[in-house]
Symmetry: C2
């Protein structure tokens, strides 16, 4: 149970397949924090800490979208650092959603940036448009650490390039999926899944099912649930054999308090998380 | 001359087509800075400031690779901020080499992050694997600001996906290039080029020539020169009609002093820049 994918799989089975996306921006903050007089950095962290405290026993992991913090500059990134550190101190698996992708020597810098030091996370998301060079510098960290490569994204224009048909008759995302699966064979956990996972949105269920066939040992990070339009029903085929991924929800959980009650904001997030956990459970292994 | 592409084009014509990549890492620093007793943040900035002071009148622009700073955490990003701020204060065009690419709402955060506030640059690099959603949030900044989308990258494994043949008979990078060119039509400068440019490496000259045909109004950010193996000869066909891009060099310029003399490190960088400028000039419009 030393491999990160085993730890993540175990949490997904024991707690739930929910991944809470801590994509916290200032307008998500309830008045009790927004008007607290704290600095922006401390506000973001105070909110995240409360959400983590109230949900860490019922989730698989947290995913932290760095863009939400990067947009506030150095101060925002200090809040990002505190958030990762706190979630990891609670024993949770933390995914840095950074989607970095560059040449070999630059990926070495990004690997160092996000798998050690200030911004140490357990797993990072990567964009592999630049090929295998984007993956190799991360390999020396694999085991303790993991990565999820973008394959078929949840957004409407994901199709612009990902769905282009290749001369082989397959769409590009299948070719990317095969390659990610092949890279993943180098680092398998005892749960049967690889420390190299894939990002596949649940907003395109048919495409997801096709991908799962060519990626049998790949664990998935699944965006698109909730605010983006995806539901557990879209995951029925994928999760039919058991848990093979974690499903992210951000806004719907973080802002669950809106229109209900500011002071208990994290309690509403917990209730929303439990609701989503039950929704996912209804299709796992069925 | 209010558009950033006009300012960049003008600098490329007047000064040179050289883009210095300030991809500064600690091991690049000469002893006079490395042993100065300054903090790591101040060392990186002191080095960059000296390079900028000695070269800003002979280059088209600077490109700052954020990964080199991100790897040092919050302190590194403070040096990144100071570097962008200083280069811009000298009137130079600054490209933030961040290669971000995500869903619409996340790209809004990245646009805010890199075109305003702490990390304000003039132009950012983007990864468009996730389609048009990666571009649109940047459009409201275009004019004053610009972007370069990855099309055909300079690294060996760029071919893994970018060179896959589509059913149309064209490789993927041509399809991406066409799309970037089409997006660029929305924001043309008076120099005839668009504020939406493209990253195309000079390590694949034939592919570059094919791309130029389908991207007539696109200005290029060209990596791959020098340490990565590319030369002016590889750019002869591209630059035959005149300057249509800027060519990046990092290590070869930053580390020009190595084995020569630490104290005058920036003077060696200037000499190396002038050499590269002459090399590029030898093929422009020829």
């Amino acid at each position: 149970m030393n491999m990160i994918i085993d730890k993540l799989y175990e949490a997904a089975v024991q707690n739930s397949a929910v991944c809470i996306g801590l994509d916290t921006i200032l307008k998500y903050l309830p008045d009790c924090i927004a008007k607290s007089g704290l600095s922006d950095c401390d506000k973001l962290f105070a909110f995240n800490k409360e959400i983590i405290d109230k949900t860490y026993d019922i989730v698989a992991c947290y995913k932290v979208q760095i863009a939400c913090y990067e947009s506030l500059g150095v101060v925002g990134l200090a809040a990002y650092r505190s958030t990762l550190e706190y979630a990891r101190s609670k024993g949770c698996v933390v995914i840095a959603d950074v989607k970095r992708g560059d040449i070999f020597s630059t990926q070495e810098q990004y690997a160092k940036a996000h798998l050690s030091g200030d911004f140490e996370a357990d797993i990072v998301t990567l964009n592999a448009y630049m090929g295998e060079d984007t993956i190799i510098p991360f390999e020396k960290y694999l085991g303790d650490k993991g990565l999820f490569a973008l394959v078929k994204t949840s957004n409407p224009s994901g199709k612009d390039f990902q769905d282009l048909e290749l001369i082989s008759g397959e769409p590009l995302y299948i070719a990317v999926g095969r390659k990610v699966s092949e890279w993943g064979e180098r680092s398998l956990g005892s749960c049967g899944f690889s420390n190299i996972g894939a990002v596949v949105g649940c907003t395109y269920p048919k495409e997801f099912a096709a991908l799962k066939k060519v990626m049998p040992r790949t664990f998935f990070l699944v965006p698109g649930y909730g605010a983006q339009g995806g539901s557990a029903a879209d995951l029925a085929e994928i999760f039919g054999d058991g848990v093979c991924g974690v499903v992210n929800s951000s806004r719907q959980i973080l802002c669950a308090y809106k229109g209900k009650g500011d002071d208990d904001f994290a309690a509403y997030s917990r209730a929303e998380t439990l609701k989503m956990a039950a929704d996912l459970k209804s299709v796992i292994g069925k």
